[in-house]
């Protein structure tokens, strides 16, 4: 099977509001796919369904051949779906290193007793985790901020640290929610290069929610468009650019047409 994640017929209902309506979505292995759409189209809701924060009212999600629809959020994170947030949600008063170590929580084994006694096994585990954290921080380009509180980092570095934290989960699927929001064009470009490097060097697929069309069109292999909870188009960036329904969703209907 070439898809790492498959979401089948997902619907999410909040009271009378159908936030996501019967959406099929899959992420092929080692690919970058994007989800775009106007504000309120249900993109972040869809993300929240994939990460287990909301349970879909209908449909199921299969990850790596396993149904994860009913798994708890921390389990989904543990088996390899990591995410970042639209508004950065780092642990501000923890150092960059600690932020990553928290993400490694589910992969570390030491229990209460081992931690209190500082057994040699626990010490070894901590040392290895710290080394791995440093490796990921270096990879994400924030290696010099290891012992800095996350909140003290610049905006761009916080974005990168959030991706680094997600990578510390050792994910196969990485969900990025508007990663370049608030970045200037140069910073966005650095970020695009970083995501490309990520795909090239690691066994990971990236799903992107993004408003910056330049970023979306330059980096994605496939683009899906949501509007009012429904999937209205899917295809390569070029196809999407010329799709009349997409243009309509973003710009409205041309004057005089019905």
């Amino acid at each position: 099977m070439s898809n790492i994640l498959e979401a089948n017929d997902i619907s999410v209902q909040f009271g009378g509001l159908l936030a996501v309506n019967n959406v099929n979505f899959n992420i092929p292995k080692k690919s970058i796919v994007s989800l775009i759409g106007p504000n309120g189209a249900g993109k972040t809701t869809f993300f929240n369904v994939l990460t287990g924060l909301y349970k879909p009212s209908a449909g199921n999600i299969v990850y790596d051949g396993r149904d994860i629809t009913d798994l708890a959020p921390h389990k989904i994170a543990e088996i390899g779906i990591a995410r970042t947030f639209q508004n950065i949600r780092l642990f501000g008063l923890m150092t960059a290193q600690e932020n990553l170590l928290v993400a490694m929580h589910s992969h570390l084994k030491s229990g209460i007793t081992a931690t209190i006694l500082r057994t040699s096994k626990q010490r070894k585990e901590e040392r290895e985790a710290e080394e791995r954290a440093q490796e990921i921080l270096d990879f994400a380009g924030v290696g010099k901020w290891t012992y800095e509180f996350a909140r003290n980092l610049s905006y761009g570095d916080q974005r990168r640290l959030e991706v680094a934290r997600a990578l510390a989960l050792n994910p196969k699927v990485l969900l990025l929610d508007e990663p370049t929001a608030g970045m200037n064009p140069q910073e966005s470009q650095i970020f695009i290069d970083f995501v490309r490097k990520l795909i090239a060097e690691r066994d990971v697929s990236v799903m992107l929610i993004e408003h910056d069309m330049k970023v979306v069109m330059s980096v994605s292999q496939r683009v899906t468009v949501l509007d009012q909870g429904e999937k209205i188009a899917e295809g390569s960036p070029d196809e999407i650019k010329s799709n009349p329904r997409v243009i309509e969703a973003y710009l409205g209907k041309p004057k005089g047409s019905k």
């Binding site: 924060l53 921390h74 543990e78 947030f85 008063l93 928290v102 929580h105 209190i116 509180f149 989960l169």
Partner: protein, 393 residues
Amino acid sequence: MAKTIAPNNVAKSNRKWITGYSIIGLLLFITYQFLLPWEGLPLGIYDAIYRWMPPSAINESLVYIIMALGLNIVVGYAGLLDLGYVAFWAIGGYCAGWFMSEFFYFLNINFLGSVPAEAPGIHINFWMVLLIGGFVCAVFGILIGAPTLRLKSDYLALVTLGFGEIIPQVFFNGENFFGYNISNGTKGIVGVDSIPVGVKNLGPFDFGWKLLIFLLLTAVMVFISLRLRRGRLGRAWLAIREDELAASMMGVPLMRTKLSAYAVGAFAGGLGGVAFATHVNGVYAERFNFTISIFLLAMVVLGGMGNVWGVILGAFILSWVNGNGLTAFGQLYNEQFGTEIDFASFTFLLFGLVLIFMMLFKREGLLPESRLKLMLHEDELDQIDASSKSGDK
């Protein structure tokens, strides 16, 4: 405002505090065990010590410190507000009452106890009862936590409040608990076994030696707190305190992590309960009331949430003022000015004022954790940031 936490050497920093702690502990022990009974001690000094810091008061302070350290794990580390901590103290106390006295006179169980083998009742070795009390409390912590920890903070506080009322009430009316006497009700369980330390058994009046034992228990709690704080679990607690949702999205199981904070905190409550029972030589239901929960919380907040040294300082100050300090001060004042003011009755007025002023001027506590200080003074720091940046340009 770049504040960096350097990767300090764990072993070295541990050695540092253990040395300092041992020196202070040893000085206290020498003072109370040898200096105080010494006949050559000038009467003035003897009187001063007895007035300001009698042996029983310092031991009681240590019991409060042990429990405040436990509460600190729940409130300071994991950020869960617990208003019913006194329940664990009570359960620990009754564990001592049940397993170290003649309360169950119809039984005859003796396991390395400090009384003759034929004595009626259950007599288990003090050190084991400590562990039993701790673990029983931990189990209760989990039982209470499992259904309630899903609640958001305010609701959790209310449920713990209820729990803190129910447990002491059960003991208070425990003379007939479904037909069984579990607590002797208001009469309490009088007389618990002395503490065996190999060469001798420590009765209720061996203050000096008991001081040493309580100091040891406190050190164990400090040690546990510091070690856990730096480990995998401590990081997860902190992450939950910072941002629960993000923590769960990063693979931290919220329930289990919160429950473990509850269990470790309750364990300390159990230690405190057993220690207190040996200190007052009995278990008395009316001691375990709601004010104690608030009192302990005030200790943690006054000292500085999340920092063990701050919590120790806060617990020591408050328990001292409550137990002895204010009375001693009142005595001095009345002698000096010929008045007859009952200072001890103003204790809670004083605490109220202290907390109000704390919240106004030093919200982070006396010895704050560096992170918390940053969080609570965010606005001011931002101003400093802004002014220093504009100064650069």
